[in-house]
Amino acid sequence: MTEKYNMPDERGHFGPYGGIFVAETLMPPIQELNAAYQHYLSDPEFIAELDADLKYYVGRPSPLYHAERWSRELGGAQIYLKREDLNHTGSHKINNTVGQALLAKRMGKTRIIAETGAGQHGVATATIAARLGLECVVYMGAVDVARQSLNVYRMKLLGATVVAVESGSKTLKDALNEALRDWVTNVDNTFYIIGTVAGPHPYPAMVRDFQSIIGREAKEQCLEATGRLPDALVACVGGGSNAIGLFYPFIEDKSVKMYGVEAAGDGVATGRHSAPLCAGRPGVLHGNRTYLMCDDDGEIIETHSISAGLDYPGVGPEHAWLKDTGRATYVNITDTEALEGFYAITRMEGIIPALESSHAMAYTMKLAPTMKKDEIIIINLSGRGDKDMQTMAKREGIEL
């Protein structure tokens, strides 16, 4: 079935979701960004430069690896890992920062800002800023600064200024608030590289387009390796950039099921989680309408997850739309289950995944055994686990 999918509309709406909900001072730079993005999207020179960077700097294409031992162990579908962990800087985040930084350069912006949760987007942004010689300021919640200190050090090595955000819950959402405050103050020379498929239009569409290299490659690689399309895609969802990157090129291939895995933290029933699609409601935050974790008064609720990168009360508006239309299915995995996924693939395949990606691993452990041996699952292994070694060691009572 090939029903055409062409979201968002020209005002950035995915059905009732998305849009542009920002203070007036940000309207002109957002319009400027949208115009530049639409222009360069079809500029062969821009695309050629982006492709060259992705190949020689990021190291693309990333392999599609058949996890044979793990597949056998689970006794169901054949599991393939899209190895975004092998990208330069260790996650899928660099696909997007390379693209947005090239755009910033063409727009004549000299200063880059970013928000970060786990620090992967911050590192990817600091990396590309170093390469292009741009000033870089990264906002990071104080709680995340503490639990992802290795990435903080990496960003500083790369020459970025890391600002620990002390307001609110001191996590990713507060980093985003602070980055927006910076942007509103420095609109003239500053480009805000948002790391996920959230924020005001055109960010959700633009970040998706830069990340959809993941799904395009995976589709081609799967066809090459197996002669057919996969039966299911699995990816973790915080803001949702790695998931949409994998899903998007498959949206019109209706035989391919899509599973987005949210962080259930201590369990959705406990209220201590980060699963707005599974247990939230529509609302407006950070420039777009989407599913949010908020109370009856519309105040945002503090989230919880073992993985800083999933610890966010919103989610990209396109995921909200894919949920409502039933095209994708959103499930959730607790901290404890995610750790089982982490250990399983580490010991079974010799690959240490990020705690974020471990949520996708854990869901696959439930899904694969329900499928036939000749069926195929592709998981987005969105990042490597090096950044989480301190967290893991601490849980095991080991001091590094």
Binding site: A23, E24, N177, R181, V184, T185
Partner: protein
């Protein structure tokens, strides 16, 4: 004629400028707000902007962020802010009250429920920071139909096209954000504001209140002379923050500052 329109017309007729204090509802305690509103009117306030506390105030500087946090710690909400406004209205039918806040609490209440509640509380205007006219027409229409003015922001980088858009979408007054930045920032430039106001005046007849970065009587006077009114927020809320252990003192200092601004505006 709406209470806001009438108030600005009366001021214009007597050659006076509007003094518009902003306070966060329920900061630092819910029972502090209504008496303070009445005291501010006595001190010369023409319109009161009542901030609706929100967990993620993206356009606000640290002073108003902390005010929101203090109020939320006392379970303040949009609903309770409306109750405060209604309470104030019982004994003051003259002074316009404008709610200023973010969209999500309104989304959670539902646009129509909110418009009805605003009408019941006899609110005069609603300014929603993160709701530009492109997304806000549905909500604005519901408010206008109930006699509540939807108020929009303009900024130093707003184009003629956007000024015209606000002129059509908004009523009551336009809130001109005097600088690129968050509330309470310190780099307001009067010459820039004056140049920009000329451009805006060419495209709208709505009264223009100027805010962000107004700290004292001197700046207030300079700024008010350019526009039709001046909004002062963070400087007032700082007085609360500095006197959390003595709220009578906080109230006195707020009133003292407003009186000095009123005198400066009228001199």
């Amino acid at each position: 004629m709406s209470r806001l329109a009438a108030r600005f017309e009366a001021l214009a007729n007597t050659g006076r400028k509007a003094l518009i204090p902003f306070i966060t509802a329920g900061d630092p305690r819910p029972d502090f707000t209504v008496p303070l509103m009445h005291a501010m009117v006595k001190a010369g306030a023409d319109v009161i902007e009542l901030g609706v506390p929100f967990s993620d105030p993206m356009a606000d500087g640290p002073v108003i962020q902390r005010a929101s946090e203090r109020a939320l710690a006392h379970k303040m909400s949009l609903k309770r802010t409306l109750e405060i406004a209604a309470e104030f209205r019982k004994t003051d039918q003259e002074t316009p009250v404008v709610l200023m806040g973010y969209l999500n609490p309104i989304e959670a209440m539902g646009y129509e429920n909110f418009a009805n509640a605003a009408q019941r509380a006899d609110i005069d205007g609603v300014l929603t920071v993160d709701l530009p006219p492109e997304e806000g027409l549905e909500c604005s229409a519901l408010l206008k139909a109930r006699g509540v003015d939807p108020i929009f922001l303009l900024a130093p980088n707003s184009t003629d096209e956007r000024v015209k858009k606000m002129d059509v979408a908004g009523s009551g007054y336009i809130y001109y954000v005097s600088l690129k930045g968050v509330t309470g920032a310190g780099h307001l430039n009067a010459v820039d504001v004056e140049n920009k106001l000329q451009q805006i005046r060419g495209n709208t007849k709505l009264p223009i209140a100027i805010g962000f970065g107004v700290k004292d009587a001197a700046t207030a006077k300079t700024i008010a002379n350019i526009g039709d009114g001046v909004v002062i927020g963070s400087a007032l809320i700082s007085k609360v923050e500095e006197n959390l252990d003595n709220l009578e003192q906080a109230s006195n200092e707020i009133i003292e500052l407003l009186v000095s601004i009123r005198q400066a505006l009228d001199s």
